[in-house]
């Protein structure tokens, strides 16, 4: 009776899950999903790579922690594993919702939860007729967006199934809008149509909030969030070079996040999400020049953390590498510039506690390098505990 970690490539998060499982005394099976051929036939099923038969591993598995990095493979993995009688974390239903930002927003909106004003136009920027003639829809799509969101306020176009800020584009003029609509062709991260959103005046940070539910228990929202901050790009993803800070969440925000979790996870015994949220800031209560200066100082303090992150020892001795990472991070978090920026963010959230919007739910969040160090929550723990709760 066991839990299997399904993954494609073992990255820090997966190594972190293995490491945490060892500490918790939980045995894990491993399913390197990418090149395991699944065969279904009247004899049953087999699961094999060229050199190894994983059928027994599959058979022994009760719960699958689905960490396939590709969103599409993750979705297929969840359906496959459920068809084979396994419990999955997250379930195929949850994966299906989170795959699409639009589907996520629809569920949250329907439950009365705050989301950015969003416009979806189902057609694509251009279509090809049978005679190969191209029809352009960019102008119509732009008109439809502008009828709902003033271009002067900024219109954000998003790839519906994108990630890491990919294909998230801000337009402030009609020309930019047309250009950005053109770029949003159907592709693997934007299967169909065009999604646009009002630009949330989130100042210089957004939030990543962890909520989870074990079977038979109430949902929990961790009371610290990961704030990703910087003025470089309106997209605050850490991937784009932004810095990370801990943020305290007021109780009303914790309640809202739990509601988001319960809404997206409805009908499922257990689930885990990293919710992305923004604060629509009405009062910029601190001088921006001060924040920019502190962010520059903090960026210097962060350099040693980046150095450890890039070190190859991660691959040879994860545990020792991790200790170094934690030490470097704690130096950064104790620096005065970090504390100053953190204070601004904490105050700003408290002042605008009723102005939060939720814009995305991540079903397979990265956590080892940022969320865990910043918020003190090792997401591997709730992941493993939640998986255990599914074993009857």
């Amino acid at each position: 009776m066991s839990i299997a970690l399904l993954y494609e490539r073992s990255e820090n998060d997966e190594a972190g899950i293995k490491h945490t499982a060892q500490q918790l005394g939980i045995d894990l099976n491993f399913i390197p999903f990418r090149k395991i051929a699944l065969t279904i036939s009247k004899e049953g099923f087999t699961a094999k790579t060229k050199g190894k038969d994983y059928t027994d591993v599959f058979n022994q598995t009760v719960v699958v922690l689905n960490r396939a990095q590709s969103k599409n493979r993750r979705l297929q993995a969840s359906y496959i594993m459920e068809a084979l009688g396994k419990k999955t974390l997250n379930t195929s239903q949850v994966e299906f919702t989170c795959y699409s930002k639009l589907r996520t927003l629809l569920k949250l909106w329907k439950a009365g939860l705050p989301v950015p004003k969003t416009v979806f136009v189902p057609c694509d920027a251009s279509d090809f007729m049978k005679n190969h003639r191209e029809i352009h829809n960019e102008n119509d799509i732009a008109d439809l967006f502008q009828a709902e969101i003033p271009i002067d306020d900024g219109i954000v176009i998003k790839a519906d199934a994108g990630t890491h800020g990919k294909m998230i584009m801000l337009s402030k003029t009609r020309e930019e809008l047309i250009d950005n609509i053109k770029k949003t062709k159907p592709n693997i991260i934007n299967p169909i149509g065009v999604v646009a959103q009002e630009l949330i005046n989130k100042w210089f940070y957004d939030l990543r909030i962890i909520v989870y539910k074990e079977k038979g228990k109430q949902a929990i929202c961790h009371n610290k969030a990961l704030a990703r901050a910087g003025f470089k790009d309106f997209r605050t993803n850490t991937f784009l070079g932004n810095l990370v800070f801990e943020a305290n969440l007021p109780t009303n925000v914790l309640d809202l996040a739990v509601k988001c979790g319960n809404t997206l996870g409805e009908g499922n015994d257990a689930w885990i999400f990293a919710l992305d949220a923004m604060v629509n800031v009405s009062d910029k209560h601190v001088d921006e020049a001060f924040i920019k200066a502190q962010l520059d100082f903090a960026a210097q303090e962060y350099l040693p953390v980046q150095k450890v992150k890039a070190a190859e020892t991660r691959l040879t001795d994860f545990s020792a590498w991790n200790t170094k990472l934690e030490q470097a991070f704690s130096m950064y978090a104790n620096s005065s510039s970090y504390q100053k920026v953190k204070n601004v963010i904490d105050e700003n959230i408290a002042n605008n506690r009723d102005a939060l919007v939720f814009h995305e739910a991540n079903s397979c969040p990265e956590f080892w390098e940022n969320t865990r160090l910043v918020t003190g929550l090792n997401v591997a723990v709730p992941l493993l505990k939640t998986a255990q709760s599914l074993i009857d």
Binding site: R9, R34, K35, K50, G51, Q69, H164, I188, L315
Partner: protein
């Protein structure tokens, strides 16, 4: 990284699933081999005195995301 006994193959370990791999001794550095255990693609980083150092390829698929 293990010393080889068979002169025609080098022994190596998959950094991901720990499977023992036999790498042909005419393999060149930077060649891509795949692990028979987990199927991952591995890049030959160095070959020194019959020791083969393998590293996972850092591919990042178009739809890889949280």
């Amino acid at each position: 990284m293990t010393n080889s006994t068979n002169p025609n193959t080098f022994k190596a370990k998959c950094p991901d699933c720990d499977a023992e791999l036999e790498i042909s001794s005419d393999t060149e550095v930077s060649e891509i081999v795949s692990c028979s255990g987990c199927g991952l693609e591995l890049e030959v980083k160095s070959i020194r005195d019959g020791c083969v150092d393998l590293q996972e390829l850092t591919i990042e698929g178009e739809d890889w995301g949280e």
